[in-house]
Every structure is written in C-alpha cells, then in structure tokens.
Amino acid sequence: MTDSEIIRLIDTSLAEEFELDQATLTPDAHIYEDLGLDSLDMVDMVVVLEKAFHFKIREEEAIREIRTLGDIHEFVLSKKREMGA
C-alpha cells in the first residue's frame, strides 16, 4: 500500500466507525475537540485500526501521544514501515 492509500483507509475506517463527515477529516483535526471522540472511542479506534491493518498496537506507548488525525496517520505509517523493514 502507498502512503496515500494507507491514509485513505485510516480515514474511511474512522469515518465509518465514528460516523464522521469526511470533510472534517483534515490532518490538523483534534481528535477530542474537533472530531468529538472520547476515551471510549480511542479504545475502539485501536480495534478498528488493528482490524484494518492487521497489526497489534494496543500496547504501543505512542498511542497515548496521539492528539490529531495527522498523529494517527503518522503513527500508522510509521508502524507499517516498521513492519515492512
């Protein structure tokens, strides 16, 4: 998958799970303040991403630093690169 395909899959997966308007899915969108998600949603976001990308990320420390959609993109891209290495 290319980086843009990965980002598109992240966005469509999250939009479907959390009923988000695609127009709000900009990299600088804050997960809590702009997208309206909360701590329960963050738990489910891990499940959604693990299912979409066939990896395990629940125990990753970096998840706790995620604040924006762009952070999610970066995290997943980094994880995919790590897996491909």
């Binding site: 959390f18 309206g36 329960l40 738990v43 499940v47 395990k56």
Partner: protein, 412 residues
Amino acid sequence: MRMKRVVVTGMGAVSPFGRGVPALVGGLMSGMSAVKRLPGLEQVIGLRSLVGAVVPGVDGKEIPRKFRRTMSPMSIFATLAAQEAVSAAALADDIPAGGRLGVSIGSTIGSPATTQAFFEHFIREKSVEQMKSTVFFQMMNHSCAANVAQALGVTGRILAPSAACATGCQAVGYAYEMIASGKQDYMLCGGADEIHPLTTATFDLINAASTHYNDRPESTPRPFDKARDGVVCSEGAACLLLESLDAALRRNAPICAEVFGFATVSDTSNIANPDSAAVRLCMEKALFDAGVAPDQIDYVNAHATGTEAGDIAESEAISELLGGDVPVSSLKGHLGHSMAASGALEMVATIAMMTAGRIIPTRNLETIDERCSGIRHVQKIEERGIKMVLKNNFALGGVNACMVLGRYDSDR
C-alpha cells in the same frame, strides 16, 4: 408519613405497531394484529414457535452517536419512548439535570443479541482483542435505564427493576412509590425488550409458546380462547412520565391519569406456574394501597398472554375478587407479549382507553374457555366511561404486579 398524590403527565411508546403512542393506540383501536411469521426463527433447530411481533423501521439514527453507541435496540426503543413522554409532558429543559427527575426502566436481561455476538467471537477465538468498549454497556442489566438517563441528561435516581413479564408494571410501581414518598418529584418509568430466539425458546420448551398458528400468525395469541396455545413473543418499549400532583399543578402540566395504588408479591407456589390465590392477593393489595373498593373498578387490563395456566389463574382471581360484571380484556392478541415492555405499553393503552371512554377488546377471543368464563370478557369495542382501572402483570419467577390507575379528578 404523608404520601404525595402521583399523576401521569406524559407517555411514549415504540411498539410492533410502530413508533409513538398514536401508532400504538391506533393499531389497537382498529383491531390490527402485529404478529407475523418470523423467517429468523425458522433457522433455529428445535424451535416450534415461528411467530412474533417486531418493531418496524426504527433505527434510532436521530440519537447522537455519543449516546447511541452504547445502545442495543431495547435502549433505542426506551430512549425514543422517553423522549416522546418528556415532549408530551412539556417538561422544562432544566428539570432533567435538576436532580428531582429519576429513571425507573427495566428489561428482562441485557441485550441478548449483543451478548450472543460477544460470546460467539469469544468462544471461537478465546480472545477479547476485538471487543469494543461499548459492548458491556449493551449487556448490563441496567442498560436501558442508564442509556435513557445519559441521553436525556437525567441526574436523579436510577432504578432498573428486572422481573421478566412484570418488569414494566413494577418499574412504574416503584417510580410511583418514589414520588409518593417524596424522594423524587418526577420519574421516567417503564420497560423495554428486544426480540431474540432465546425468549421464544424459553416459552417453547416449557410448552407455553404458540406453535399451531405458524401459518396463521394473525390468529395468535388467543388470550382466554378455548383454542389458545401459548405466548407469542414481541418487543418494544413504553415510558411514562410520572410526577407529583403538586409539581404537575405548579407547572400547569397536562394530566393523563392518576396513579392510585400499586402492589407486587412473590408467588412461591411454583417458579413457572401462576397460582390464582397469589394473583388475587396482589390485586387485593393494590386496591388496598389505592384505597379503592373492588366495586369501584370499571375495567381490568389483564396480563392474559394466551397460556392455559396463566389465563385460568388470572380469570379465577379476577372473578373471585371483582365478580363477573367488570369488563376484562387483554392486548396480547394484538401486540404479542413484549416481555418487560408489556406492562408499560399496556398501561399507556389503558390510559388511552380511559381518555377515549372506549374499551379495546381481546383480539382472537372467539370461543371463551369455560375455565375462563367467570369474568366478563370484552369481545368488541365498548364505548364506556371508565374512571378506575386495574392493570395486571405476572412473570416467570413468581412475580406478580398490579397497578390501580384512574382519571384525574381535581375535586378529590
């Protein structure tokens, strides 16, 4: 302790006739049946009862995702019914968060479909890695009450009675007692359930589900009828807004009815079969609580699900206590048995009957079983002034619940 008078100021319903009190009452008044053959039941090995009544076309998408994510269908039904009740009661926006409004809404169990989905994966994979954070909130026994409170911003007491088929009646009864004792001024109360093969199977295996009308679903259940053959399961929710008469008068609220009395007893003769003496005792206690004499009751809305044992026990008890002249009908022939919702749905319909001065007959009652003949059955619409009614509900587990409701009289 001086008890407060309690009135009903709003009602909401989601039933197999659709969404809203008008759909429920319209379906009942026109004598319709909501019972259908359900294709999903045909796939279940060993299940003989293939009929049921389901809520049509309600997805709850209008409930914001933040609240809907923790709701199974039963909580969606309950929330929509609660919203309708609050709207009908014209409750001010600041009341839910004021601490004087509570919630008393129960279901038979937590969502069986969500429970099934979780354990299917859990047993197959021995894993919780794909478990969503919202699963537990749909499986917990107080799912409906908690979800309604969250969605409507209710900050008072939360109560989630669970007594199977008597749940709805008990939930309203306990809400009435909470207001009468002054603990709360307002209560959103009722019951909800969603249909699942587990419920039908439970009645089927004890030979208490309807099995002979799979090709004529609209002809079953048949409360009190000689050819009745058992329960037909259904689903839905109903919610009533109860409040102290003082509060209602203070805010000039519309008053639909007054709650006069309530009783609930345990029948220890058998966990599955009702005993007429225990049914009678419960009705007696409700009348005593209401301060109402048997001859003041103008109509009995029976539990009568169409089982042999239940219908006979209830008929005998009503006959012994109230005699053979009081009109009696059951609404299960139209709606099936919506379990925890049934008591509340039937209470809403009973209040509508009282308002309209019209008694809805027992659908599918054609030939009265001789063993149920000691009471006066309503077999066609009767135009009749009703001031005081008795509402019965009885449950597996030996739980009886009875409520006395009446027209509100400002001169009383």
